[in-house]
């Protein structure tokens, strides 16, 4: 089926403006948040109902046309990069909150609903949707399910997989599956977990029932400065060892601290080799007690400065610096390259020392920000794409960081997904047997391999090439979104 035939087939049930195929209409869809990778789709389809989604899929299934699903397009791994001969299926029009049940603490929403919109709708009931990826003002819940998005509070409140109950999914054959249930488990295999984080490879989500959480009464944050990154690492371990699960625990190295302090003025100590932010939330008595204990631990671990937020404004100011780390990288360097590895926390000092050595070896600076609570490291390699060869060096540097994460017992991606970006590193993290099983899982849902082909799981013959998030002169795809 050629483009125009497919357009006319789709227009039999989709309105004129919901089937795009002219170049100028397609351009906005050529990339997602990872703008280094661009590809024009053959057609963009914007269904407005679940039935329309199913109809698009049935046509593509019969005609063997690839389908790439897209939510808000804020993803950082190129998961929504279009296919040149495929349909880019935008779920943006499915953006209604269908039901909010305060007593059962659930919301039933369409995939295009923004993450933050759910919390806003739940706020009058003292509830919110817990996972809070940094892009939450723009990213959609369907995309969150596809990527199993986390956020800075995930150690305590979990990832997307812990906060959803049920999905309505349309298979590539156009068949509806109801996965999960309104209870806390369901009969048969846990396909809800399998769908979460599957990067649009297994089915198209048309409805999500999310769990809502009661909003903590209060929160306070401790800001601690250390003259040695290992001391900061020990402090993280000791907080956890003391039986405290902080609502958030973030670390920044000296380069990051200086970069953000320069324009945010969060009050960070510029002499610190590392700073730690450690937040407690809950009832007032509990928070007071926990903050006291965190303060003691920071001092015991050798922090030379420990401050506690005195009010909400100060708490937000302490956080503002951390949340500005990515834009700060864009200010001090023409380009930066964001990595997303996870490691067991105990290996933090080793991995950071390794990154420092690599930084010297490649002659490139690297800022390190770290979701210390759950071991998710975001090294930001600073480079200048206009200098010949520097991009290639950066990519090699990045690849070696991810390799170190694997060696340290971690993973190549904690929250940004594999997409197209880290597909080659999958070859390092998994053996042939596991990769074959991933392909087998995909074929159980999508035997013809039409859903998001070429993403998330590499073909066995493919290997070694590196790629990542490149930002030129601060020109992020979504400069208005905080990234942390």
């Amino acid at each position: 089926m050629n483009t125009l035939e497919l357009v006319s087939r789709l227009r039999t049930f989709l309105p004129l403006g919901a089937v795009l195929h002219e170049t100028e209409d397609l351009t906005p869809y050529e990339c997602d948040g990872l703008s280094a990778y661009r590809q024009m789709p053959m057609i963009v389809a914007l269904p407005g109902t679940e039935e329309e989604v199913a109809a698009v899929l049935r046509i593509c299934h019969v005609a063997k046309i690839p389908v790439v699903a897209r939510g808000a397009g804020t993803g950082l791994s190129g998961g929504a990069l279009p296919h040149a001969h495929g349909v880019l299926l935008s779920l943006a029009k499915l953006k209604r909150i269908l039901e909010l049940d305060p007593l059962a603490r659930t919301a039933r929403v369409q995939p295009g609903v923004r993450n933050l919109a759910i919390s806003e709708a739940a706020a009058p009931y003292g509830l919110y949707y817990a996972p809070d990826p940094s892009s939450q003002i723009a990213c959609s819940i369907g995309g969150n399910v596809a990527e199993n998005s986390g956020g800075v509070h995930s150690l305590k409140y979990g990832l997307t997989v812990h906060n959803i109950r049920k999905l309505r999914v349309i298979t590539i054959e156009g068949e509806l599956l109801e996965i999960g249930g309104e209870g806390l488990d369901c009969s048969g295999y846990d396909l809800l977990a399998l769908m979460t984080g599957s990067e649009g490879m297994l089915g198209i989500v048309t409805e999500v029932t999310v769990k809502l959480t009661s909003r903590p009464e209060t929160a306070q944050v401790v800001l601690a400065a250390f003259d040695d990154i290992r001391k900061a690492g020990n402090a993280v371990a000791n907080v956890i060892g003391a039986g405290i699960i902080p609502a958030g625990m973030e670390m920044m190295d000296k380069l990051s601290t200086r970069a953000v302090e320069d324009f945010i003025h969060a009050g960070y100590n510029l002499e610190a080799a590392a700073i730690l932010l450690c937040e407690s939330d809950g009832g007032p008595e509990e928070v007071t007690e926990e903050i006291q204990r965190i303060n003691e631990i920071m001092r015991e671990c050798g922090a030379f400065e420990v401050r506690t937020s005195r009010d909400e404004a100060e708490r937000l100011r302490f956080w503002a610096g951390r949340k500005a780390a990515f834009p700060a990288a864009g200010r001090i360097s023409p380009d930066y390259y964001c990595m997303d590895g996870t490691i067991p926390r105990r290996n933090l000092a080793t991995v950071l020392a390794g990154i420092e050595a690599l930084s010297a070896e490649y002659g490139l600076r690297c800022m390190n920000v770290f979701h210390a609570g759950d071991g998710n490291l975001h090294p930001l390699i600073l480079y200048d794409a206009n200098r010949p060869g520097e991009l290639e060096l950066t990519e090699q540097f990045g690849a070696r960081i991810l390799q170190m994460c694997i060696t340290a017992g971690g993973s190549i991606t904690g929250e940004h997904g594999v997409g197209i970006e880290k597909i080659d590193q999958m070859c390092s993290q998994f053996k042939t047997g596991e990769l074959e099983m991933f392909h087998a899982v995909k074929s159980a849902f999508d035997p013809d391999g039409l859903l998001n082909p070429g993403k998330a799981v590499p073909l066995l013959r493919r290997c070694a090439e590196q790629g990542a998030m490149h930002v030129h002169r601060g020109n992020e795809k979504f400069p208005e979104l905080p990234r942390f």
Partner: protein, 364 residues
């Protein structure tokens, strides 16, 4: 230890060669749960049993990482004792149903205890698995880190799959600190009031870690920092129960009087706020209303239809947890679409149907 894995893999391959199947057995404490396996290998030495308890022991545990990795044959008691030495626990409070319960059986059955509604279930704490598939391949999925989105979440797919997709060799789990303080309150209520309170409490910032309702009494357990527990206790009212932890253990292990009826025991997993289910028999409610146990008065097709229908209407599903001679199928039938996917997954993980065939559904 590698030799044990090879022996287990050899047994799987041999059974596949004989077109027979194996029944995976850990501690044997949950044999009552699920359907009977079909087409077991007829061998005098093993009797078609794959003994998973031989591969045991804690592989790695660093309390400050909040992660433990242990072999499938590790006894739950041993694992929990080791965690408790470091003031940590399996937060999903798995039922043991006997001293020999293993970690592998716990994950394969996917059963969680009283803390499920507040802390999460087994699947929420599984971070990674090492397993043998139906061809005896040694595969690892997930890892030992909290956040990991590389590849499909096969670890959680394995959770609750009743051994039909693979033999669990090792499991990595997130663990949590044992709360500084716990206390249990009891108060009189009728069923509708109890359900309403359980759900309302869960929507407030209260340290509620378990709830149940039985015979006109609502029980609630508070867990956390002493100050938080004391503050909540003052808000909720009721009387403190002296033997609180023994009570919750009797619920988790089903040694409570309710579970001693020796009649078909149904497990209805439903929307927490679903109104009281009117079904003939006695009920015991857990998980903030999301779990309703039923000792059914009647057996037979009409009863099964009524029970499954009630669960479905309440947004959930019903399982015949303990049969006591009932002829009902154990698990709620899947829709054709879901069975289709499940069958295909079984074909991929266990193409020769060696591992626990029929333990969940005849097709897988």
């Amino acid at each position: 230890m590698q030799d044990i894995i090879e022996q287990l893999a050899d047994k799987i391959c041999a059974a596949a060669g004989n077109k027979g199947s194996l029944f995976i057995r850990g501690g044997g404490t949950k044999n009552f749960y699920g359907e009977r396996c079909t087409n077991l290998v007829n061998s005098a030495s093993s009797g078609g049993v794959l003994d998973a308890a031989v591969y045991r022991g804690i592989v790695e545990y660093d309390p400050t990482e909040l992660v433990v990795t242990a072999r499938g044959g590790t006894r739950l008691t041993d694992l929990e004792t080791e965690l408790a030495r470091h003031n940590q626990m399996l937060a999903f409070e798995p039922p043991h149903f006997g001293p020999d319960a293993t970690l592998g059986g716990c994950v394969a059955t996917g059963l969680s205890g009283p803390r499920r509604a507040s802390a999460g279930g087994v699947r929420d704490f599984v971070l990674g698995v090492r397993m043998l598939d139906g061809r005896g391949q040694d595969l690892s999925f997930g890892g030992q880190v909290m956040k990991n989105v590389a590849g499909y979440d096969v670890s959680r797919l394995m959770t609750g799959s009743m051994g039909t997709l693979g033999l669990l060799l090792e499991v990595s789990l997130k663990v949590l600190p044992i709360p500084a303080m716990e206390l249990t309150l009891g108060m009189p209520a009728n069923e509708a009031q109890a359900l309403d309170r359980m759900n309302s409490w869960a929507g407030k910032p209260l340290p509620v870690s378990a709830t149940s309702f039985y015979e006109g009494h609502l029980y609630v357990r508070l867990s956390g920092a002493e100050s938080a527990v004391r503050a909540a206790r003052a808000k909720l009212g009721g009387e403190e129960i002296a033997e609180g932890s023994a009570f919750w253990e009797s619920v988790r292990e089903q040694t409570h009087a309710f579970f001693q009826a020796c009649k078909p025991l149904w497990r209805l997993s439903v929307k927490s706020s679903a109104p009281p289910l009117s079904l003939p028999g006695k009920q015991f409610i857990e998980w903030g209303g999301a779990l309703r146990w039923l000792v059914a008065e009647a057996d037979g097709e009409a009863a099964y239809t009524a029970i499954r229908g009630a669960a479905k209407n309440a947004g959930g599903h019903a399982t015949l947890f303990r049969g006591y001679g009932s002829c009902a199928v154990v698990f709620d039938p899947l829709t054709p679409g879901m069975m289709n996917i499940s069958r295909r997954l079984k074909e991929k993980f266990d193409p020769m149907h060696v591992l626990n065939p029929g333990r969940m559904y005849p097709e897988i």
